[in-house]
């Protein structure tokens, strides 16, 4: 809401600049989005008087005006506005001026006739079209006759005022009014704002003769009405129009403007009906009925819901209660009798209606946050009196009440020690008492206990904690000391699980992978790719976009999106890992998925980018990524054998280049190349990936580091080269060697693979180094030879190997 500095000055003695005032509001009450002047950025826009005019020789709508702008000579300005007229004082943008939209005005020629500037309409000098009064919407604006020629126009239009745009939090609905802000500033600056209260001049006839009201108290806890007769509809005086347009409200006429003015001033939304358009004399506040429709003032037709609250006459709805009036009871130029509604509607119902009908108005915004229930009558009185003064109306006697209740101030008790205990301050009894008084609260003191009576204008305060906040913000957060919690010492440490998760990240980073964070919400199709187990999908009930509808059940698809993003930008070398959650459901019936930590990687192009190497030859392959996974698993010190077993079960993976990973017989994940057709669908280059169940890895027993003495005795090695069928795997060979290796076989290493030329078809050559060592004695050649012999024989007999 935009609050005018000058309006606040009517009630308070403000000694600080508008900017400082905005800062103070922000530090003590609510956020301030900006402090601006409507004239900011405008210059050389002055009052001019059209002395004479004649039609443009080459145009049927342009007028050539001679304008007095305060210089010795008249200024010739060409104007195309339909309402241009002599003797009128107008807004003149001089040559060299700057008008709305940062447009510069120069001396120019219009169809051959010199024009020294421009005569402006309101929207041309920065007014939003939404606030320009209808009578000025299609032409230039006429300034008051006493405007001084040659002077800047800004003061005449309220454009030199400062507007403080407050962004009010949901709890501070009271700050959505000038009175509310003035009260809070009163508390901040220890002043009592000079707020005026209306005195209504009534005529003899009773309003209750004209109208009766039936209001459902669940919908409208308070519903009151005043009747004003014999109004003369016309534009409002300029001071009122200025107040409205500076607050972003379009001036309409002297009756509607009064209701909006009261809304801005008191925060109480009002609605004015044309009494004569209402059928019958009973007004109801009720739920809408099935099939009812209402066209609101904005000319939009609404199909009403049975939970919407309407104001209705004896035939039809005439307003969407608390949101917007109906077109069928609108105030127009012929209106003579006005029914002013001042009410309180149930916030949640208004909120729902506004959402349902997608109609958020100044009124609904205030009803949603609540209004001052103690100010309903005062607002009606003030409005009626103003209609008397501005529209010559006769205010009928009394207020007609449909529903009402005795609004009582809230009483809250709190002790000084409690306040100091929560704030960490050392405030005195008098300091706190003064703050409560500045806020306009009633306060009595018994020992150190305050009994605080909160006026209805602060309906957000109910409990002691609310009072603590009031004290804190008025006292000033800057003055609160800075300390750290003092109580008993607690131990802070990561849990084993958290440590392992951190270690996992560090290890993969040290192995060359960059941490990625991808979206957990993805498409249906991607969510169920690369699945490590069966699971039902978890869908959002109302997604925002088609790209993010379903919770992921794998990490790889997100990483492939990342690879695609990089590849599309010609970044070919991508090495990523991600640690995060996947979401599984055992069945469709389960509503809430279980969450599992996974860790996955994707590498495309070169892991280590070396421009001196051939990029293609240096590109990632299965074995390089396998090395990373092995190193990672070793680093986690997982106890048990790690096995890689070929698999073709993942439809998204290369069937001949994928392995399931087992630790001690337990499935923990997989590794391999992304299937070429899947890669094509993702628009990515050849990519290798792995995904591991991190929860499982964390749970697995760990190998403690243990010192193993380094043998004093030398080791002996033997090399063996085998010619075997290509179908024989390294794992099979190793298994045989270990089976017959003997007590002193310490390790086996593959050192050569050859399947090229000079070998019989279908054969490959594998060469291994076997290392023997006795930890307690020096091995003899004989011992080693015997053991080696056994291994060779086994390989020949079990695997059909030819020893080369």
């Amino acid at each position: 809401m935009k609050i005018a500095y000058s309006w606040l000055q009517e009630y308070l003695d403000i000694q600080v600049s508008p900017k400082d005032l905005g800062e103070k509001i922000e530090r003590s009450s609510v956020e301030v989005d900006s402090v601006t002047r409507p004239s900011d950025g405008l210059k050389k826009i002055v009052v001019g008087k059209i002395m004479s005019m004649e039609p443009h020789p080459d145009s049927d709508h342009l007028q050539v005006c001679q304008v007095d702008v305060g210089d010795d000579d008249l200024s010739q300005i060409v104007c195309g506005a339909p309402n241009v007229a002599t003797d009128k004082k107008v807004i003149v943008a001089l040559p060299g001026s700057r008008i709305g939209g940062n447009v510069k005005i120069k001396r120019s020629k219009m169809r051959g006739v010199v024009s020294n500037g421009m005569i402006c309409a309101l929207d041309e000098i920065g007014f939003s079209k939404d606030v320009v009064p209808k009578e000025w919407a299609d032409g230039i604006y006429f300034l008051p006759d006493d405007a001084k020629i040659g002077e800047p126009v800004f003061p005449y239009l309220g454009m030199d005022d400062y507007l403080i745009d407050v962004d009010v939090t949901p709890n501070r609905g009271d700050m959505l009014s000038v009175y509310g802000v003035a009260r809070d500033l009163g508390a901040i600056y220890a002043q009592t704002p000079k707020l005026n209260h209306p005195h209504v001049e009534e005529v003899g006839t009773a309003a209750s003769d004209k109208v009766s009201i039936e209001a459902d108290e669940d919908l409208a806890p308070i519903y009151k009405m005043r009747i004003v007769e014999n109004v003369k509809i016309q534009p409002s005086p300029r001071w009122l129009q200025i107040k409205l347009w500076n607050a972003g409200v379009r001036p309409i006429n002297n009756v509607v403007d009064v209701t909006n003015y009261i809304l801005l001033k008191y925060g109480q939304p009002l609605h004015a009906f044309d009494y004569n358009k209402v059928s019958g004399s009973t007004i109801k506040a009720r739920y809408a009925q099935k099939g009812e429709k209402l066209t609101t003032l904005d000319e939009a037709e609404h199909d009403l819901n049975e939970k919407d609250i309407v104001i209705a006459d004896d035939q039809k709805p005439i307003a969407l209660a608390g949101v917007m009036g109906g077109l069928n009871s609108e105030i127009d130029d012929q209106t003579t009798t006005v029914a002013i509604e001042s009410a309180v509607f149930t916030p949640t119902l208004i909120r729902k209606t506004a959402q349902r009908q997608n109609l958020h108005t100044d009124a609904s915004q205030r009803f949603e946050r609540g209004v001052n229930r103690g100010g309903v009558e005062e607002a009606a009185d003030a409005a009626a009196q103003m209609m008397h003064e501005l529209a010559g109306g006769d205010v009928l006697k009394g207020i007609v009440t449909g529903s009402s209740y005795d609004v009582k101030p809230v009483v809250v008790n709190i002790t000084l020690s409690r306040i100091n205990h929560i704030l960490g301050t050392d405030l005195s009894l008098d300091q706190v008492k003064a703050i409560f008084k500045q806020l306009g609260f009633g306060v009595t003191l018994d020992g150190e206990k305050y009994t605080v009576t909160v006026p209805t204008s602060r309906w957000d305060i109910h409990i002691p904690a609310d009072l603590v906040e009031e004290v804190a913000r008025i006292y000033g957060y800057d003055k609160i000391p800075s300390t750290l919690p003092s109580g008993p010492t607690t131990v802070g440490a990561l849990t084993e699980r958290q440590k392992l998760m951190r270690d996992s990240r560090h290890v993969l980073e040290s192995l060359g992978l960059n941490q990625a964070i991808s979206y957990a919400l993805t498409t249906d199709a991607k969510a169920k790719q690369f699945m490590m187990r069966e699971s039902a999908e978890t869908h959002l009930s109302w997604p925002m976009t088609a790209d993010h509808t379903t919770l992921r059940m794998n990490m790889i698809s997100g990483l492939l999106d990342d690879v695609a993003y990089n590849n599309a930008r010609r970044v070919k070398d991508v090495a990523l890992y991600e640690q995060g959650r996947v979401f599984y459901k055992d069945s469709e019936d389960e509503v809430r998925p279980s969450e599992h930590e996974h860790i996955a990687g994707a590498v495309s192009g070169q892991l280590v980018v070396d421009p001196l190497k051939n990029a293609k030859h240096n590109a990632i392959d299965f074995y390089q990524l396998k090395g990373i996974v092995e190193k990672y698993l070793n680093n986690l010190a997982i106890k048990g054998d790690i096995e890689f077993i070929a698999t073709d079960k993942y439809p998204e993976m290369h069937p001949g280049r994928t392995a399931d990973i087992f630790i001690h017989g337990h499935y923990v994940g997989f590794i391999g190349q992304v299937h070429p057709s899947v890669a094509e669908a993702y628009k990515i280059n050849q990519t290798y990936v792995f995904e591991l169940d991190l929860d499982a890895l964390i749970e697995m027993p760990k190998d403690m580091n243990q010192f193993e003495p380094i043998s004093k005795y030398p080791s002996i090695t033997r090399d063996v080269a085998l010619l075997v069928d290509k179908s024989v795997t390294n794992a099979q060979v190793l298994a045989q060697i270990h089976k017959r290796g003997g007590a002193y076989l310490k390790s086996v290493h593959l050192f050569d693979i050859y399947d090229g030329k000079n070998l019989p078809g279908g054969k490959q050559s594998l060469a291994y180094t076997l290392t023997y060592q006795n930890p307690n004695a020096t091995l003899t050649d004989d011992e080693v030879n015997q053991a080696f012999e056994k291994v060779q024989k086994t390989l020949v007999s079990e695997l059909g190997a030819e020893i080369r």
């Binding site: 922000e26 530090r27 003590s28 609510v30 956020e31 939090t169 949640t348 909120r351 946050r369 205990h421 929560i422 904690a465 603590v468 906040e469 804190a472 913000r473 957060y477 609160i480 000391p481 800075s482 300390t483 750290l484 919690p485 003092s486 109580g487 008993p488 607690t490 802070g492 440490a493 990561l494 849990t495 958290q498 990240r505 980073e509 060359g512 960059n514 941490q515 964070i517 957990a520 919400l521 978890t538 869908h539 959002l540 009930s541 109302w542 925002m544 976009t545 993010h548 919770l551 990483l559 990342d562 993003y565 930008r569 090495a575 990523l576 509503v591 998925p593 969450e595 980018v609 070396d610």
Partner: protein, 348 residues
């Protein structure tokens, strides 16, 4: 010519010869020639027996001195030659030190992870536990137990991805407040906890909005925890993450789960507090929300709000990273462009 004269002549001539030898082999040959068994000195010493007993010691002394002299000249020359040889070798081995180093593999933690780790470490040092909660939450924990009943207007502040009426993607890490409060045994000491994690909002992704982002929630509940403690703690976060010259200021705000509620601003990174376009000429930038835990939140979790109380805060690592490094589009954090990710590799 006496023997002595012979030797003297040899010494003079040969010393010069030694200095002229150009390589080690020739020097060795010369050494054998001069000092070997057949060399002139040995010969001269042999001829000593023809001298008188008086002359013998003197001559012996002289001959030995000549031998020592020649020997030392040879050694000196040998050292010289060796050194020259080594120098030549070193010269041949000279490389272009400006050629690039051999690349090694090294990955980086994500910039948001770096900030989360920093926050975790800071709070672990102050005795906080780190807890993580579910990303798919119950309405009860995400909203109701945070003092946001079903029709609360503040729910509009957070657009929520619902899965069912009661199950949703958590919109904040605050549900961990309720979850830990429910479980904590206060007879065993205060509750000091932070909870980092991913949160989700029903937002359209643009430079300043992301449907997925991060939060770190913090809460301290004990018998005497004050707003001043909150202020001191928030200052510590600012100093740890940004540096000591950054100040914190508190402003009133509103969160349903805290009362009083504050918004914390930090000194503008761009202008250092002088005022600039980034901070809308205020010198301050809003970075986090905090407050004293609302008594309703405590009571709903079964904690006596008359006895226990404390503060809670919520920090946005995404926002911190954007401010700290001048990242102008939040989507960068989730697109994982390698060129973006690898920028944040500086330690310290």
């Amino acid at each position: 010519m006496t023997l002595r004269d012979d030797l003297e002549k040899i010494r003079q001539e040969r010393e010069k010869n030694i200095k002229d030898v150009g390589d080690l082999k020739k020097l060795d040959a010369l050494r054998v020639e001069l000092l070997g068994k057949k060399g002139p000195i040995t010969q001269a010493l042999r001829g000593m027996r023809n001298l008188s007993a008086d002359e013998r010691p003197k001559f012996g002394q002289f001959a030995n001195s000549v031998r020592d002299e020649l020997q030392s000249a040879i050694e000196t020359r040998r050292d010289e030659l060796k050194k020259a040889l080594l120098n030549k070798q070193l010269q041949n081995e000279t490389i272009d030190v400006t050629l690039p180093g051999k690349p090694v593999a090294q990955g980086q933690p994500h910039v948001i992870q770096q900030i989360i780790d920093q926050i975790e470490d800071l709070f672990i040092g102050m005795g906080y536990q780190v807890l993580s909660g579910p990303e798919v939450e119950e309405d009860k924990y995400n909203f109701e137990m945070m003092n946001l009943p079903k029709d609360h207007p503040a729910r509009d502040m957070q657009d929520t991805f619902y899965i069912t009426k009661d199950i949703l993607m958590r919109t904040q890490t605050s549900p961990m407040q309720a979850r830990t409060l429910e479980k904590h045994d206060f007879s065993k000491g205060p509750l000091k906890m932070i909870s980092p994690g991913v949160v989700y909002r029903r937002d359209t992704d643009d430079p300043t909005h992301s449907h997925q982002f991060h939060q770190v929630e913090g809460i301290v509940i004990d018998k005497h925890v004050t707003m001043a403690d909150l202020k001191g703690t928030l200052e510590l976060i600012a100093h740890e993450l940004f540096g000591d010259r950054f100040d914190i200021r508190l402003r009133p705000s509103y969160f349903p789960f805290t009362e009083p509620s504050v918004e914390a601003d930090i000194t503008c990174f761009n202008c250092g507090g002088k005022g600039c376009a980034v901070c809308k000429y205020t010198g301050w930038i809003e970075v986090l929300g905090a407050g004293m835990v609302h008594p309703n939140v405590l009571e709903m979790a079964g904690v006596d709000s008359e006895v226990y109380g404390g503060f809670a805060f919520g920090v946005g690592p995404d926002r911190f990273a954007m401010l700290k490094y001048g990242v102008d589009d939040i989507r960068n954090f989730y697109l994982n462009d390698v060129r973006f990710l690898t920028q944040f590799s500086k330690k310290g």
